[in-house]
Amino acid sequence: MKAKYLFIAIALVSVLGACSREEENLFDKSAAERAQYAMDNANAVLVAPANGWEMLYFANPASRGYNVLVNFGKNGRLIATAKNGTTTGGVLRTDSSSTWMVKNDYGPILTMDTYNEVFHAWSDPRDDGEGLQGDYEFLILHADANFVKLKGKKYGAYYYLYPLEAGVKAADYYTEVDALQTKLCANGNLFHLNAGGKEHLLYDGNTGIFTLTETGEIPNPEVADIYPFAVRRNGIQLSFPFLDLKDVMYELKGDVLSAASSTLAPAAPVTYFAEYIELVGGAWTYNISDINETTKNAIADVNAALKKAYSSNKKAAVKSLSLSAGVEHAVLTLSYLGNSSSKTTDMTYLFSFKVQGNSLQLNYVGPSDENAEKVLVAFPSLLPMFQSLCGSFAITTESAINPTAGVKMTENSNSAKWFNLTGKQQ
């Protein structure tokens, strides 16, 4: 009887065992066929655009983005064009030639496998063995005629490629990018991220890296939540989305950078004015040659006093007035030429500074130190000049997308009292 069960058991194991290696086909093609298809598809996509691709290259997940124009030749030749301070010394480099291929390695991999002067400087280990940690082998995550998404094989940054329209010349491309870069990012512009009613503050600092904080908070560099980006001709490309969003491309539409589920835009002018000096550490500089009559006359009085005191220097005069953040108060920096005809002397005076609704309250407090007080005593005409800067102001901007380009402060109760200011990162 035991033998009977033994025979049945062995027979069952034989039959079932024979079947056990047959796997159900989850896909209509084998893994090898699918891998080959992915490689063929990637190859076909990459060589298709006659004018090549606009590539947004992030040397590593914490690196700013760079614009590179790449042409993947059908013959395996890669021609790269770039203009940046890191790999081309800031000049347009159009002739950098090397090789590329798509190979299979746990999926299709794009490799730039001989040295290209435009690309591989980001990957060079330099003296520290690390360099900028730029990848030159990329996992191809997505490839179609509209865009290609890559991931650095070693350091994991995400890269995007878009077909470059026929007829666009490299020089014109970089001129447009530079212009938008200036428009959006000059002077350390800062944006608010608006996503479904939640608002966060972003800092640029001209670094090509956004730092995200809760609105009003100053970022801690040691634990900064950073988001590298590159400026394209039509907006801003992130390497990876903010927070749990999915947007990576923000197109400039009017005065807003728009994506599917979120937007980037500066705060309202008065708020922006305050954020710029309090959070970014920027300064607003008064245009003293184009200023309201009261202040103009006050400055003229100060200049007359300076010329009298420093009679040997015909250039003695107020050179600039700029407002920045201090510990408790805003700080007005007075730069003037006294003894020297070329080197300015700076004195600082404190102003109270408050945002109230759509208005900015600015009031003179006093000198910030003994030296400033001595100068004030020596030149009493400074006081009326400082007082002429005070009041409750409305603010308008020349460029809503980057108010640092120019704002106009106009006193709410007296439209004849106005100031033009520009922002500058310190």
């Binding site: 090397s98 040295y115 280990p125 030159y136």
Partner: protein
Amino acid sequence: MKKFYQILFIGTLLIGLASCEKDKFTDSIFIDPVEDTNAYTYAFDQWLYEHYTVPYNVEFRYRLDDNATDPNYNVVPVSMGMADTIAHVALYLWYDVYDSVAPAGFLNENGPRIIQLIGSAMINAAQGTEKLGQAEGGIKITLMKINKMKTNDIDLLNEYIFKTMHHEFSHILHQKKTYPKEFEQLSAADYNPDGWQYTSDVEAWQMGFASPYGGSEAREDFVEIIANYIVKSDKDLNTMLTVAGQDGKEGRKILEQKIEICRTWLAEKWELDLDALRVEVQKRQKDMDWDKIMNLEFMKK
């Protein structure tokens, strides 16, 4: 009844075995490599095939596959221009030298099967070291820092390329036939795998090493002796030996003993004349003419 179960058992076993036969493999879906005459690299690849693969059974790799490098290091590929230069100079100062001096077919039989070029060195900043080459398993030699070469700087070429070629090839040779145990005994107490980089040339020579790196371990010592003996000019070799013996140091004596061991080992195990190799390399180093090298005129003699 027992017979019934036996028949049942054999029957099901046969069915089971028969079902195993159904695993059929279709032809590979990968396309065989096609010789694409339009390929950007076709001319160079063809040149490499004709000058390395056919005569020496070696694949000269200049395109970099990240999988073939140590992931702990960041490296970059070699430029095509430098790959072309090194491919020519390796023929001039390595392959053609052995063709002139070694037994017929020596490199074809004993040379590496793969030569890989890498544009940068493997840099270990923490230890203050950089790797310029490596030999693996007796079949592959990797030459590094190629992009930094300047063809008009013979000292740089000697240090980074020529010496590395002979250094790594000597590794290949001793990986196939081990070097004498007596060699290891000569400096056994002085090897310093973790601190060799803090040793100066003079200190190394006076300890009996051809270079600081030679003081890292015996096998590196062995190949550094051979490589330095081959590529160092008469003047530099004499300087090394003279300085090694100054101040009552034993370095010269040890170096000469090591050179003799290498000389004997190469002669007995490989039928190679170390001094003939050195003479030929020195002659070629002195007569370097890049136009002639790039036109392979040295092979047309």
